[in-house]
């Protein structure tokens, strides 16, 4: 799969927000820094990591739907060509589909069946009904309004909208909360089928144990950057196979693996530590960690941003 050309390449992406702090002083807050990522045709790339580490902002940056006070630096290429704002406008909703994070993205005044059909003519009604059935949504669901659905049902409708599009790249931002384990697995199986057809999926998720089973690679985010990108198989194998101490901490905090959290919390954009962003919480910290941002290194078939990784 890796010998194929990547569908999406992101290198050294930075996103900052321009803010006014009460007075007329303007300041810039960098929320994503030095982020690099590639997605190949036919693969699911899972994006895991801390809440508030910039995962959803990455999705908005790819689609070009960041708010007006955001500025983006770095290079994004889609299908080998630079991903310009003009191209983003053409591609989003068509070639690139988003499963939004919040169920509030559903139109509250539109029945969900029609909504999932979308603007396409002729309406893909038969296909959509089959999809709803596969998701275990009762037949009358299509005639309901979003407020009449439970969280998990609304989530399945959102996922259906993206599956009905003929997108080459699906960005699914937290598609599974509220779904039961079987439903979540079914959703991920459908993403797997999309990938096996040669399409690409970016799966942003906190259900990392499920992601380990269905994804090809996992990118771990912390404080606005990638700290490790590794084959999903390494996460299935356990902490010894992982490279970054934060990835190992995530693994150990899973309820089935020990439920032991590390102390502290992710630093804020605007008051980031010098050097390695994870250093203040890291068991391997040395003086050298504060010297500078660790470069991304290739180690054992993965990439890691830690000077101690072997």
């Amino acid at each position: 799969m890796n010998e194929k050309k990547p569908l999406l390449e992101i290198s050294d992406l930075s996103v900052s927000f321009l803010m006014y702090d009460g007075s007329l002083e303007r300041s810039s807050l960098q929320v994503i820094s030095n982020l690099s990522l590639t997605v190949h045709p036919g693969e699911i790339l899972a994006v895991a990591g801390s809440s508030g580490s910039g995962k959803s902002l990455l999705a908005s940056a790819i689609l070009g739907i960041l708010p007006g006070n955001a500025s983006v630096e770095g290079a994004m290429r889609y299908g080998g060509e630079p991903l310009t704002p003009e191209r983003q406008k053409v591609l989003r909703g068509g070639e690139i589909a988003l499963v939004p994070q919040s169920v509030a993205y559903l139109d509250p005044l539109m029945k969900v069946g029609r909504q999932a059909d979308g603007h396409k003519k002729p309406r893909p009604t038969a296909e959509r009904r089959a999809l709803f059935r596969r998701f275990g949504l009762p037949e009358e669901t299509e005639g309901l309004y979003p407020f009449q659905l439970s969280g998990g049902m609304a989530r399945r409708v959102l996922v259906s909208t993206a599956l009905l599009s003929n997108a080459r790249l699906v960005i699914a931002d937290e598609p599974t909360p509220g779904m039961s384990l079987d439903q979540a697995k079914e959703a991920l199986r459908m993403f797997r089928d999309l990938a096996d057809e040669g399409r690409s999926v970016i799966l942003i998720t906190h259900d990392i144990d499920l992601a380990f089973d269905f994804a090809d690679r996992v990118a771990v985010f912390y404080a606005g950057t990638t700290v490790e990108t590794a084959p999903a198989a390494d996460f299935r194998r356990g902490p010894e196979a992982l490279r970054h101490p934060y990835s190992r901490a995530l693994w150990s905090a899973l309820p089935q693996n020990g439920f032991t959290p590390i102390d502290g919390f992710q630093p804020y954009a605007g008051s980031l530590p010098a050097g390695c962003l994870f250093a203040p919480r890291c068991p391997l910290r040395t003086a050298a960690c504060e010297a500078g941002t660790p470069p991304m290194r290739d180690i054992r078939g993965g990439e890691v941003r830690c000077i101690h990784a072997t």
Binding site: A48, G49, S50, S51, G52, S53, G136, Q148, L149, S150, G151, G152, M153, R155, R156, E174, P177, G178, M179, S180, L181, D182, Q183, A184, H206, I208, D209, A249, L250, A253, L254, P255, Q256, F259, T260, P261, I262, D263, F265, Q266
Partner: protein, 206 residues
């Protein structure tokens, strides 16, 4: 103490189907029960009814044999999945916490809340940080029962483990009764002593 639902029925209006149709459920002080069922079986509705946010269409919710008080601090506190919807966006977080009692810096530290967060507005904190405030607010109220409706699904697993370990320590110390709505069986096994399957209406052993 014992919190119980007797033949609880609920529907939104007379033409709608029943969301809950005759559910019996109970949890005692010191007990921690997970509620599981596929989505759409009324888990969140049951949570809202138990905490007094909704009134049942039929049946009743009783705390030690009496209905929940209509005034004052509710002895059954509910924590939701989305902390940003449970906090007044125009209040600083200090005010949010003061609603349930006076602030004690040692207690705040034990919840992993930084003193400097208190002067911020909710939109300036991440979901995981806000959820700590919701948990602290609910626990500081001293309520004997706590209902947690998918409180950690939107959080990373490290924050999830931090928050739950804190709740478990407090529940243990005070002999609280706890109800956790979750889809994650591994989590249920970690935090609960028994499981109620709302679909089959039976208690399962863990």
């Amino acid at each position: 103490m014992r919190l119980e639902a007797n033949k609880l029925r609920f529907r939104y209006d007379r033409r709608s189907p029943w969301v809950l149709d005759g559910v019996d459920f109970s949890v005692s002080a010191g007990e921690r029960t997970a509620i599981v069922a596929p989505s759409g079986f009324g888990k969140s509705t049951l949570a809202l009814l138990l905490a007094g946010y909704l009134s049942p269409t039929g049946g009743q919710v009783l705390l030690d044999g009496a209905p929940l008080p209509k005034k004052g601090l509710c002895p059954v506190q509910l924590i939701y999945q989305h902390p940003e919807r449970a906090i007044n966006p125009r209040w600083r977080l200090r005010q949010v916490l003061e609603e349930s009692g006076s602030l004690d810096s040692a207690v705040l530290a034990s919840f992993g809340i930084e003193a400097q967060w208190l002067d911020r507005f909710p939109r300036e904190l991440s979901g995981g940080e806000l959820q700590r405030f919701c948990v602290a607010r609910a626990l500081m109220s001293g309520a004997p029962f706590l209902i947690c409706d998918e409180i950690s699904t939107m959080l990373d697993v490290i924050t999830q483990a931090q928050i739950w370990n804190r709740i478990l320590a407090e529940a243990e110390k005070r002999g609280m009764g706890l109800v956790a709505v979750t889809h994650n069986m591994a989590l249920a096994k970690r935090v609960c002593t028994r499981v109620f399957d709302l679909e089959k209406r039976e208690y399962l052993a863990l």
